[in-house]
Symmetry: D3
Subunit: 145 residues, 6 copies
């Protein structure tokens, strides 16, 4: 089960990231639809995409930041939403998060500023959720950009 | 008359692609406004744009897929909406449609996935409309990206 | 005080650009949030960004058009909204505005057309506001893309 | 054996596309090097890339043009060199080739013109090679962008 | 006759911009080749491109800088070479040139720095040529990016 | 003194990365030229760029990989050359390097493959230099993309 944006205790989901919940449902529904097609190439790509973010020589936290910066400089809103949440899930601190954004801002220029705002907005929503729960934690299901 | 997203029988429009209707009206209204300006260069470009999609050595179905893939890798939502519908209008099958998306996905990377979702959503809406009508058919007026 | 999108008389703001007001508030709130972080690099970049649009060897009107064209070919909606309004504020005429759009359209291709529509929509809203007020004028606070 | 840019008779390679031969060797050597690494993800992506261009619901000629246009609007020189040759190999005529370029030019704008020149230069080199040989034909080994 | 990069006295060309001369010849030769094809759309686009840079509501100097900045943020080397020379031809001063580059740098980010270097190199070559000739002046033939 | 691409023992530079040495000299010369202009904005941006890569909440090794991936997906050859070398200097292992490339490949698509080849070529050159010297080590002077 994909409960990507869900903060959970041991037994249940105790908080939903309100602003992105609609996006999450749409994304989940459409990904299923796409994978139900007979196009093997697309299915393989989705598998490859999930795989790229698994722990290897680099840990998942570092990979989360690599994805966030790549999404920032390419200015993909949905990808940024996804990867910003992943970064929080992987334990990226606020200081680390802002430094990653700074790298993206310097490399990609002021054209990335609207997406900087979006990433910080999501960061703040995640922090709010974390404060509300005694046992904050995030569970990420299968990954797709 | 531009009735781009309208499924029609011989005499009347019998179905509207709900999700994109508002976009169509906005697009139509603004294109008129732009063409009402005195800028000859912009007018000529719009004519050139329409012309590029007419049948020549390549048929309009092939051109439709060329446009769809170009719009996908450049990640232009409105352009994708437009060209996905055009592809359906030109008789592109689901299998062909997904193969074109696969080319875009491999060339453009996971950053195109949000637009893959969008294109498939529109494809499904078009197929629904086609099923509802006994004489499915689409009439496209003048083209503008 | 940043009252970027506000047409004002000497004493008060007499008109708000309706369509973009929500965007303005969001933008203002998030910029403050970002600047409240401890990341000096981002703060310095924001200062640099503001500075780039101040009068120097080039006047602010010319710089406004440079920014508009750069935002157009990079297809950044929020940046276009911002810079289109700035161009009006700097006294760019309709003819000049459309010529700048034409340069962007020719250089950037039909993929920019959705953003051409957006820029013209904002231009028209600004002109409407200017007509409604006896003493049209715009005051722009600190700049951020 | 990868003899991508080689025109051949039944038994042997009878012509090499001079301008791109150095590129071909470099490309072939580095692809081997990359595939010799232990990174499974990259290997899988390369396989996926090859697969995307094989005949399916769409024939290889149509896919060749989809790739050419995608490479053009993303302005990737090496990719254009590769896909322009592939188009010739798949039997794309000059008229079809120029129409595909026109689509890319209109969608991508004048910024693609340097790559239009490059694509046409390669087309002409291919045609010259085809004229020199009694049994023109091209054999493409494994594909990688 | 297209003598774009040629500094001339009244009667003859007295200086060639060394570093870009080879590029100029290639460009001129290929443009002729492209225009010799039967593709009307491409011919019309080239005409449109030339037209976009002619004096209108905006003077050619301002348009030269708009093009330079657009080429910079899209990072097109050949386009930058062309438009940097045009800017010199149109009388853009060093201070104005650097301010335009600064706008491009801030909007487009550090990813544009390699092209900043290229633009300044060409600026310096143009200034050297201007110093060597008593009657500096540039004649630009038909324009194509 | 900027000796970016120089492998050194305690007392002297003992190896130069052959393939990129010419690039290094050009880059160094032009950066000096650019900084000699009177444009304060550009100078400040260069300072900001250097600053973004210094150790903060994130270490320089992680930042090196963030930059490499950002340069890869934006497909900037010079930037990739620079950041690939920096990664080696910061102690990135081959496995880590390839995983970072894989992230860029999946996010950015096959259009990045020519730059994957380039990055691996530079990695190999760096490893060769490191083997030749008993006390491998790299010293990087001021940073500019």
């Amino acid at each position: 089960m994909d409960r990507l944006f869900c903060f959970e205790t041991k037994d249940s989901c105790v908080g939903i990231l309100s602003g992105v919940e609609e996006f999450r449902r749409y994304r989940e529904r459409m990904n299923k639809r796409i994978l139900s097609s007979n196009n093997l190439g697309i299915k393989m790509f989705f598998a490859l995409d999930t795989r790229a973010y698994e722990k290897g020589a680099l840990d998942t936290k570092t990979k989360g930041m690599l994805d966030l910066v790549a999404s920032m400089v390419l200015r993909c809103s949905d990808c940024i939403a996804y990867h910003a949440i992943r970064c929080v899930q992987e334990g990226v601190t606020d200081e680390e998060f802002f430094e990653a954004l700074n790298v993206a801002l310097v490399v990609g220029g002021s054209i990335t500023i609207p997406h900087i705002r979006r990433a910080v907005e999501i960061l703040d929503q995640c922090r709010d959720l974390q404060k509300k729960n005694k046992h904050p934690g995030l569970y990420a299901g299968n990954h797709l950009s």
